[in-house]
Amino acid sequence: MEDDKNLMLDHEYDGIQELDNNLPNWWLWTFFGAIIFAFLYWIHYDVSQSGPTLDQELAQGIARVEQHRKNAQSSGGGEEVSEEEMLAAGQTVFRNYCAACHGQKGEGGVGPNLTDGYWIYEKGAPDTIKGLVTKGILDKGMPAWESMLKPNEIDAVVKYVSSIRNTNEKGKEPQGNKVDE
């Protein structure tokens, strides 16, 4: 505090005085450090372009994900899942993701009734359903699920949908063709 007298400037504004302390060293170093880092970062990414662009980073990320998916598929199928477990899992998926449009029991709503024995697409064969669920029917407003659901979840929900056919829940009026079994 004694030093303050020496550091006091002769400025005075409405009673406010100013000292002239040195800039704190740690403060100066943070500032210089940030400037040096900024400069190097800029050189790395924008001038020499030795760092990846965002597009390159994204492409690498996607490649990694695809590799993970491949690995998971080839190593999958280890544990056997029982029929009931699969149906139960399928029902959960259906309630979470499909019910908004197809109704809690598949009776239809925004999307068609899946229980009425009428099918728009190729008699509602499991393979057809799997294709529809995976890729969606985009122009008709049925979303594609391949990015949301894993392969085993898609299998489970297809199994579930196949299991509720012809349960004839009252709901949306039939669409497509009657499929006799």
Binding site: Y13, D14, I35, I62, M148
Partner: protein, 722 residues
């Protein structure tokens, strides 16, 4: 000895600005608490269009920034400037035009925003007539301020005044450039910039509104009120100089840190990030000077509530300006952006730094100009502690919420799939924290109520406002340059040059970032060519803008795996090029919409907009049932398309001339598809139909898309009829 004269400081104008700030603070805080409750519990939207979250949030932000903080700034600037320059304000007439003009602007904002007159550009929502009024009033303010400087009785300008100058100059530039828009009606306009250009200009503005409306003026106030309140000299004059100029020069570049991982060119993103990092030290320079001024007076922190408010404010400033650079680091931004972490960040600044500094300042000014003491010190202390706990609860809950949801959005498991593909699941996880946040807000509001009571009691018990405060000052001041002074000291006596240097400092970063972006065509690859919106889709876009859907929805899929897995291919720079205004958004309370087109059937959107819960059980999105009662003004589309054509959207003359019939034809199509699914009633001309057409077009405007192309040819008579 030089001769003395008497001058009369104008306290009345200060009193009015103080009271106006306190009045509008109530509106801002109430709107904030309502918005908080609406996210916690959607029925608080009341299904009333003007009370819906997407209209309340802009009202809240505008009231907090321009009404509460704005009036506080003007109060403090007018109060301190007269004393620092030893003269009365330049012109009483200008002072009062400034005051009443600003209140009228706020009033018109408070009316137009809930009614849905909005440009949907954050903190620049107000429509063009109000933009013009803001410009005029700002000029009045500037004249009054610089006029006061000219007739000053103090040769050198103190550091507080430097910051005020930076504020006035820069806000003028920001406001004018970001408000370049062409009216299409009494309360509607389209910005001349579109897509990425609009995005860059908007965030150059948005970020620097924080810098030059919520930071530099408050630093100026800090430099006056802290030394006054603690009666100690400012810690370091040298530090003032270094941190002032570095702050002013660096801040202006940092805007693109709001756009990391977007389709903004990489170089601009890099600049945004590195300048934000370099900003850390200059910001802390201000904090150091504020806090170390207390050396030798720390005991006041225990005894004087004013000092408590001021010092806590500076501490929050330090926290926010550390957090800001941190959030600008690309990888941190990836986690935090679009999440509640950013909401936490701004409220640390707004409630802590701006709010507490303002209240500390009011508690200082009020007893001085009413010549009395505050009615109750204990109430001031209660205000402080209740307010502080409110801020902490707010801050911590939104940190937790932001980080939780951010991690969930980004999580990818070993098999290469999103761990939480269902967006609503991530919302459910943080919903309880929305209640906690509301509690924080209510506490802050409670503190405010105590303040109002205390202040009303104080003013009532005072004799009267000392409207004019007479002081003796030197009759003349020698403004000639003194060669023996140091360089900066001399500069402090040459206000014109000082102001020009400030302008140049902010011009460098602005020009170097904005000008190259305006020649953006070289970044848009030909293959990306997109089609413009059809007339009906544009009408739907206007609905999206009016309703303020951008407060919850982004339209920009980031260049990151997690975003691409969730929403589809990353957004390209070309896709939004015809968007006036851009709607990239800054917050994802709901999912990104850039590629929502044709993901769902029309009927899904119809039901979802009427009541989101009918499609997504746990949704917190408000219902928009009035869109079914409101009609599209088809005829106005001719004018709208012609303006859009003027700003660069490639419509043909015929599309413009037939815009209304074109839109009606497509509306017929949508209405028919809905009627087929059982929707009853005459819905063709409704805003809902237009909005659905717009939503179904999002991400589907490629020139290779058959359906999009077909819609472009719907102009009746567009074929061989002529």
């Amino acid at each position: 000895m030089s001769q003395k004269i008497q001058v009369r400081y104008d306290n009345k104008i200060v009193a009015f600005f103080v009271l106006a700030s306190i009045f509008w603070a109530g509106a801002a805080f109430l709107a904030g608490v309502l918005a908080a409750l609406q996210l916690a519990y959607w029925p608080f939207n009341f299904e009333l269009e003007w009370l819906t979250f997407s209209r309340i949030r802009p009202l809240h932000t505008n009231a907090a920034i321009f009404a509460f903080a704005g009036n506080a700034i003007f109060a403090g600037m007018y109060h301190s400037t007269q004393r620092l320059l030893k003269t009365r304000l330049f012109s009483d007439a200008l002072s009062w035009i400034h005051f009443w003009g600003w209140q009228l602007i706020i009033l018109s904002a408070a009316i137009t925003l809930p009614l849905g007159f909005s440009q949907s550009k954050e903190y620049a929502e107000l429509e063009w007539p109000i933009d013009i009024a803001i410009t005029l009033i700002w000029v009045v303010f500037a004249l009054n301020f610089f006029g006061t400087i000219v007739k000053r009785k103090e040769k050198h300008i103190y550091v507080a005044i430097w910051f005020y100058i930076a504020t006035i100059v820069t806000v003028a530039v920001l406001h004018i450039v970001n408000s370049l828009e062409i009216p299409v009606g009494f309360l509607q306009s389209y910005p001349i910039f579109g897509g990425v250009q609009d995005a860059l200009v908007q965030w150059w503005y948005g970020h620097n509104a924080v810098a030059f409306f919520l930071t530099t003026p408050f630093l100026g106030l800090m430099y006056y009120y802290i030394p006054k309140a603690v009666n100690r000299p400012v810690y370091s004059y040298r530090l003032s100089i270094v941190h002032f100029w570095s702050l002013v020069f660096i801040y202006i570049w940092a805007g693109p840190h709001h756009l990391l991982y977007t389709s903004l060119p990489d170089w601009a993103q890099t600049l945004g990030m590195i300048f934000s990092l370099m900003l850390w030290a200059p910001s802390w320079g201000g904090m150091i000077n504020g806090l170390l001024t207390l050396r030798g007076a720390w005991h006041l922190l225990r005894t004087d509530p004013i000092v408590k408010f001021l010092v806590t404010a500076v501490t929050f400033y330090g926290m926010s300006t550390f957090e800001g650079p941190l959030l600008s680091i690309k990888s941190v931004s990836l986690l935090a952006h679009y999440s509640d972490w950013i909401i936490a960040h701004v409220h640390g600044g707004a409630l802590g730094w701006n709010g507490f500094l303002s209240f500390g300042m009011f508690y200082y000014i009020i007893p001085k100009i009413w010549k009395t003491k505050m009615y109750s010190t204990r109430l001031m202390n209660y205000h402080f502690w209740i307010g502080l706990s409110g801020i902490l609860i707010y801050y911590i809950s939104m940190w937790a919420s932001g980080i939780t949801q951010g991690l969930m959005w980004r999580a990818i498991d070993d098999s290469g799939y999103l761990v939480y593909p269902d967006f609503v699941e991530t919302v459910m996880q943080i919903a309880p924290l929305y209640w906690v946040r509301a509690v924080g807000g209510i506490l802050y509001l409670t503190g405010y109520v105590l303040a109002v009571y205390n202040i009303v009691k104080t003013i009532k018990s005072a004799n009267a406002l000392e409207a004019d405060e007479t002081v003796e000052v030197n009759a003349t001041v020698d403004l000639s340059v003194d060669k023996s002074e140091g360089f900066h000291r001399r500069l402090e006596g040459m206000v014109t040059i000082f102001s020009v240097l400030v302008f140049l400092s902010i011009a460098v970063g602005s020009i170097l970032e904005i000008v190259p972006t305006l020649s953006i065509h070289k970044y848009v690859p030909q293959s990306d060519e997109v089609l413009p919106y059809t007339a009906l889709e544009q009408a739907g876009r206007d609905v999206f803008v009016t309703e303020g859907c951008y407060v919850c929805h982004s339209q920009q899929i980031q260049k990151h795996v997690s975003d691409v897995l969730r929403y589809g291919p990353a957004s390209t720079i070309g896709e939004s090029i015809y968007d006036h205004p851009f709607q990239w958004g800054s917050k994802r309370t709901g999912p990104d919409l850039a590629r929502v087109g044709r993901k769902y059937p029309d009927l899904w959107h119809f039901r979802h907009m009427m009541n989101p819960r009918s499609m997504v059980e746990k949704s917190i999105m408000p219902s928009y049932p009035w869109l079914l009662d409101k009609k599209v003004d088809f005829y106005s589309l001719r004018k709208k398309l012609s303006v859009l054509k003027m700003v660069g959207v490639p419509y043909t003359d015929e599309q413009v001339a037939q815009a209304d019939r074109w839109a009606e034809a497509q509306a017929d199509e949508v209405a028919a598809s809905l009627a087929k699914e059982g929707v009853e009633g005459e819905i063709k001309g409704t805003k809902l139909v237009a909005l659905i057409a717009y939503l179904q077009a999002l991400g589907k405007k490629s020139k290779d898309d058959e359906k999009a192309k077909a819609h472009l040819e719907l102009v009746p008579g567009g074929g061989g009829e002529q």
